[in-house]
Every structure is written in structure tokens, then in C-alpha cells.
């Protein structure tokens, strides 16, 4: 947590204040030998109470802020805590190695899997190298290459989604950003191996979707998934991206919203106060969910798996349809070759 106090979110400050008091008492106790365990226990209870209070009524915008939190664990934090023996595989075999997406083989709970994960980077230098987790077309192609490899050897695919979105730039357009995202959706919908996708932070539009066509699509409690960034939505509605907090509310982008809309399978809980307060605990919860999904899916016959995957996306959408059975029959009769 080297970025200092400025990185804490406003609504986290009361929690941080208590935590600092606890830290001070603990160090005094250690140095002086005076027993302060009673005060410390009291503060701990107060802190937990404060967390429950603050996190019980988070706004959509606060959820977005948590998903983007500078201290929030990302794939590179989770990999050593959840997976064993990670063998990173680079490159898309046709243009380059986009570091906004990390791919490789690893083990989880005794199973071999292919991991595909957005990476934003932790330091400024790393963030530049990883383009802040915004993939170019070669990143999406790299993801697809590795998923095809997994398909060939019947390894399940796990994707960890955490991107502000696919990169908007000249090179990205020249190399077919839209076309390659479409290709990923197309290929993933029929990939002959189980796919598990978890949105662990930001789920920015097409960039997120490009690696989250899956048999299980779930979100960490404080992740978001949205068709457009709150800033982009606010710019369209009010010509003012500062109205992003209002837009975040309208877009229904939080995990509970998306569970309600039938977009995701499950909300994976985070430790109280968010994953960044206890990365190990967050990793344990995430790992438990991943292992459970793998167990559920490995018994599934391939045909059935693909059928269910199709149906899962097929039924998403809300519209009205007036009665027209009669009309449809006539139409079809006319259309017959």
C-alpha cells in the first residue's frame, strides 16, 4: 500500500481512522509492555461495525470506485494465492504479445487449467507496459489462441476479467478491434471445453465481454460490468463526465443488479470492507468458487455443456411479444423455398 493515504476512498476514511488507532495502540503495547488488549478489542469491534455500516449501503458509484480501487488485488496478486505452478504463455502468434492480458497453464485443486486474465499492473511502469489493462486486438487474439490450445487438450479455461475496456486507438482500429472481439464471442460460444469467467474488478464493455462467454459467469461482490463506462454514459446524457456517479446508478452495473437481470450466475463474496483489505481471504473465497465450478462442470457431457452455454446467453434480454402465431405460420408457408 505504497500509494499513501490519498488512495483511500472518502467513504473508507472512517474505517481507516479506526484501523490507524488500532495500529497505534498495538505498537504502543508492544514497546511499553502495557496491556491494552481490552481497548484494542473494543476498537476492533467498532471497526467491524463501521465496515458493516458503510458497506451495507454502498451506492453504484461507490461500487465502481471499489472495483477501480488502487489497492484492489488483481490477477497477478491472485495467481500465486490461488493457482500452482503457473507457466505463462505469451503472444498471439501473429502480431505481438499484449501484456494487458496474461495467459498460461496452471493448476488449481489438483486440476490443470488454462488461465486468461486481464492485468492492469501495480506500479506506474507496469501499468504503462500493460496499457492499464486495456487490450489491443492482439490481446484478444492471444486470449483466443490459448483458449483454442486448451480446447485441443481438453483443459478447462478460467478467465479473470478486469479491464476498463478494449483500447480505443489508431492501431487498435487498423488491426480490427471490433472484428477480433466478435471472433472471440463466436469462438467462445462453441469452445469444446468448460469456460469459467469471473469479473474481479472492472468489466468494461466489449473489452470485458471479449473473454467472458462462459458456462459460469460470476462477479466478485464489488466488481462491476457495464455496457459503457459511467463517464461515457454521463458524457452522452449530460455532456458532462463528472455526472458519472448518476450514470452509474442508471446503468445497473453492480453484481446484485446483474444477478437480478439474469446476466450472471452468482455473486462471490469478498471479505468485509472489500478484497483490498484482505487479499488472502478474498483469494480463498474466489478459489473456493472456482473449484466448485470446475467440479460442477467436469461431470458434464460436452454436448450438454455447449447446449447449456448457448441457452444461457440465448435467453438474456427483455422484450414484449404480442400474439402472432397465426401470422408466423402464414409467413413461414410463404417463405418456404
Amino acid at each position: 500500500m505504497s500509494e499513501g493515504a490519498a488512495a483511500w476512498l472518502d467513504f473508507e476514511k472512517p474505517i481507516v481512522d479506526i484501523e490507524q488507532k488500532i495500529a497505534t495502540l498495538e505498537s504502543v503495547q508492544k514497546k511499553s509492555g502495557v496491556d491494552m488488549s481490552e481497548e484494542i478489542a473494543k476498537l476492533r469491534e467498532e471497526c467491524a461495525q463501521k465496515k458493516r455500516e458503510v458497506f451495507a449501503k454502498l451506492t453504484a458509484w461507490q461500487q465502481v470506485q471499489l472495483a477501480r480501487h488502487p489497492f484492489r488485488p488483481e490477477a497477478t496478486d491472485y495467481i500465486p494465492l490461488i493457482f500452482e505452478d503457473f507457466a505463462e504463455l505469451h503472444g498471439d502468434k501473429s502480431f505481438g504479445d499484449d501484456k494487458a492480458i496474461t495467459t498460461g497453464l496452471c493448476r488449481i485443486g489438483g486440476r490443470r487449467v488454462m488461465l486468461v486474465a486481464h492485468c492492469k499492473g501495480k506500479t506506474t511502469k507496469e501499468r504503462m507496459a500493460r496499457n492499464f489493462g486495456s487490450p489491443h486486438p492482439e490481446g484478444h487474439r492471444k486470449a483466443l489462441e490459448k483458449m483454442k490450445l486448451a480446447e485441443k487438450f481438453r483443459l478447462p479455461v478460467i478467465t479473470l476479467v478486469n479491464t476498463p475496456g478494449a483500447y480505443p486507438g489508431i492501431g487498435a482500429e487498423e488491426r480490427g478491434q471490433a472484428a477480433i472481439i466478435a471472433r472471440n464471442l463466436f469462438e467462445m460460444s462453441r469452445l469444446k471445453t468448460p469456460i469459467i469467467s469471473i469479473v474481479i474488478g472492472e468489466g468494461g464493455s466489449g473489452g470485458a465481454l471479449g473473454i467472458c462467454i462462459a458456462d459460469r459467469l460470476s462477479m466478485l461482490e464489488h466488481a462491476y460490468l457495464s455496457v459503457i463506462s459511467p463517464e461515457g454514459c454521463a458524457a452522452i446524457l449530460w455532456r458532462d463526465s463528472a455526472k458519472a456517479p448518476l450514470a452509474a446508478e442508471l446503468l445497473r452495473l453492480t453484481a446484485p443488479d446483474l444477478l437480478h437481470l439474469g446476466v450472471i450466475n452468482e455473486i462471490i463474496l469478498e471479505p468485509l470492507g472489500g478484497a483490498h483489505r484482505d487479499t488472502q481471504a478474498a483469494a480463498n473465497l474466489l478459489k473456493a468458487a472456482l473449484v466448485r465450478y470446475l467440479e460442477e462442470l467436469e461431470g458434464e457431457r460436452l454436448e450438454r455443456l455447449l447446449e447449456k452455454r448457448y441457452d444461457k446467453y440465448r435467453k438474456i434480454g427483455v422484450f414484449l411479444e404480442e400474439e402472432s402465431a397465426k401470422l408466423a405460420v402464414t409467413d413461414e408457408a410463404k417463405a418456404r423455398p
Binding site: 478494449a166 480505443p168 463466436f186 465481454l209
Partner: protein, 276 residues
């Protein structure tokens, strides 16, 4: 040059009373409306292709009297209760009033040079042709129908709006839904010809519009992932001329052919002959 100027002034004068003249957004010339209409809404000076309504597309592409519209009873719903500065309900109602349509897709069947096809057009007049649940469902049904009946699919896309913001992730997931339907259709050997018209962007281009077995673009259409203004703001740099046009996509290998509107029907018929 002076003569050109005078001609322009004369044209401008004429345009005011009767609305006989219109300005081409590409070359900037004042052009005689009748001339444009006679050329199927193409600028006689620079060959800019104006957007046309679904009915005009049907007339342009299909054998007369063969068009049968399907699923026209699908109507949008404000599932998110989206209440912005204007609500989704208001937006929807305004577009419905303006176009007389329920949403942004026409889908059905027809014949091209006698060959039966599943035919669809996105309606760029309706909320910029953006894809919500109705458009996604319509496109998905086109491919399921084509798969059941072993018919090729011809889909003409025009959408500046991409995935419709007002339906949130329901719109985003239509990208997945339509792409999955196309994958099934393709696996069964179905032929899909995708025609890109001005403009085809974002979530529409990043899903069904990009997945044709053969990709055709009308000339000078704006086609891409991110809108040019957003790119300019992001990279703080002016975009090169011709960026994200049909011709740019042709140069970079993402479309098979750029076909002027007047030859489109005949070119599609030829492809149906080869692959259908």
C-alpha cells in the same frame, strides 16, 4: 472556379424554397435531390452513400413482392427503468413515433434473383440503429430460422449506436447471443453475407456485423469499434483522413469487397450463386 461558385450560389438559392436541393455531407456540394434519388440515394458528385430506410433496402435488394416480414411484433421494454435527462421510455416513444417502427430491426424472408434468403436490415433512424434486446432477439431468430430451413442469411447493418446504453448489460449480452447463434448457423454450413453501411460501429460491429462468411461494405461508410471523437479525445491526436472508412477496412483486410449500392443486389446474387 468562379463559374463553380456562381453555380453553387444559384443552387443554394434554388434549394431554399422548394427543398429540391440538398447538401452532401461528404463533398459539401449542393446536389439536386431528384438526381440523388435516381441514384438510390448516392451523391452524383462524390458517390457518398446516404442512409436509407428499411423499406428502401427491401426494394433495392429483394425480388418484387417476395418480402415477408417476421417477428415485427417484438417491442422494447424499459427493463432498467432508465430515467436520465430523457428517460428510455421517452426516447423509445419518440423514435417509435418518428419511424412508425417498434425498434431498430426489420427481419424476414424474401428472394434475390429467385433464391430464397433470410433478410434483415437494422434501422439507423431508430435510436441510431442501436442494439437492445429486440434487435438482438431479431438477429438471433434470423439465424435460427435460417438454420432450421437451410436458408442463407443476408443482413444489412447500419448502427452508429452499437449496444444500446439504455438497456445496460442486457444490450451488451446481445452481442454474445447473436454471435453464438451465428456460430451454430455457421457450424451447420449456413451462408451469412454481412453488408456494412454507414455507420456500423461499436457493439454491433464487434458482434454479428463482423461475422459474415463474406463481408461487404458500401463505399465511404464509417465502420469501426470506437467512435472517432472518443479516439481523438483519448489519444489527443487528429485522425488520418479516411480513417475507419470502408476503404480503410478493405486496405486493412477486414472486408472482402466494397460494393457501390447500384451493384449491391447483383453482387449478392453472384455470391449466393457461388456459395448458397
Amino acid at each position: 472556379m468562379a463559374f463553380e461558385k456562381i453555380k453553387k450560389i444559384l443552387r443554394r438559392k434554388k434549394e431554399l424554397p422548394g427543398g429540391l436541393w440538398m447538401k452532401c455531407p461528404d463533398c459539401g456540394n449542393m446536389i439536386y435531390k431528384k438526381d440523388v434519388e435516381n441514384r438510390k440515394m448516392v451523391c452524383p458528385d462524390c458517390a457518398y452513400h446516404f442512409s436509407i430506410a428499411p423499406q428502401e433496402r427491401v426494394d433495392l435488394m429483394l425480388d418484387p413482392g417476395t418480402w415477408t416480414r417476421l417477428w415485427s411484433n417484438l417491442a422494447p421494454v424499459d427493463a432498467l427503468r432508465f430515467e436520465g435527462i430523457t428517460s428510455y421510455r421517452q426516447k423509445m416513444a419518440a423514435a417509435q413515433k418518428e419511424t412508425g417502427e417498434k425498434d431498430a430491426i426489420w427481419a424476414g424472408t424474401g428472394r434475390i434473383e429467385g433464391r430464397p434468403v433470410v433478410f434483415g436490415v437494422t434501422d439507423s433512424r431508430f435510436m441510431m440503429g442501436s442494439m437492445g434486446s429486440v434487435l438482438g432477439e431479431g438477429v438471433t431468430r434470423m439465424f435460427e430460422y435460417g438454420l432450421q430451413r437451410r436458408l442463407p442469411v443476408l443482413l444489412i447493418s447500419g448502427s452508429g449506436g452499437g449496444a444500446r446504453m439504455y438497456e445496460g448489460c442486457l444490450s451488451l449480452m446481445q452481442m454474445a447471443k447473436t454471435s453464438a447463434a451465428i456460430a451454430r448457423f455457421s457450424d451447420a454450413g449456413g451462408l451469412y453475407i454481412s453488408v456494412l453501411t454507414n455507420p456500423t460501429m461499436a457493439g454491433v460491429m464487434a458482434s454479428f456485423a463482423s461475422l459474415g462468411d463474406v463481408m461487404i461494405a458500401e463505399p465511404k461508410a464509417l465502420i469501426g469499434f470506437t467512435g472517432p471523437r472518443v479516439i481523438e479525445q483519448t489519444i489527443r491526436q487528429e485522425l488520418p483522413k479516411g480513417f475507419q472508412t470502408s476503404e480503410f477496412l478493405l486496405d486493412h483486410g477486414f472486408v472482402d469487397m466494397v460494393v457501390p449500392r447500384e451493384r449491391l443486389r447483383q453482387e449478392v446474387a453472384r455470391l449466393l450463386d457461388y456459395l448458397g
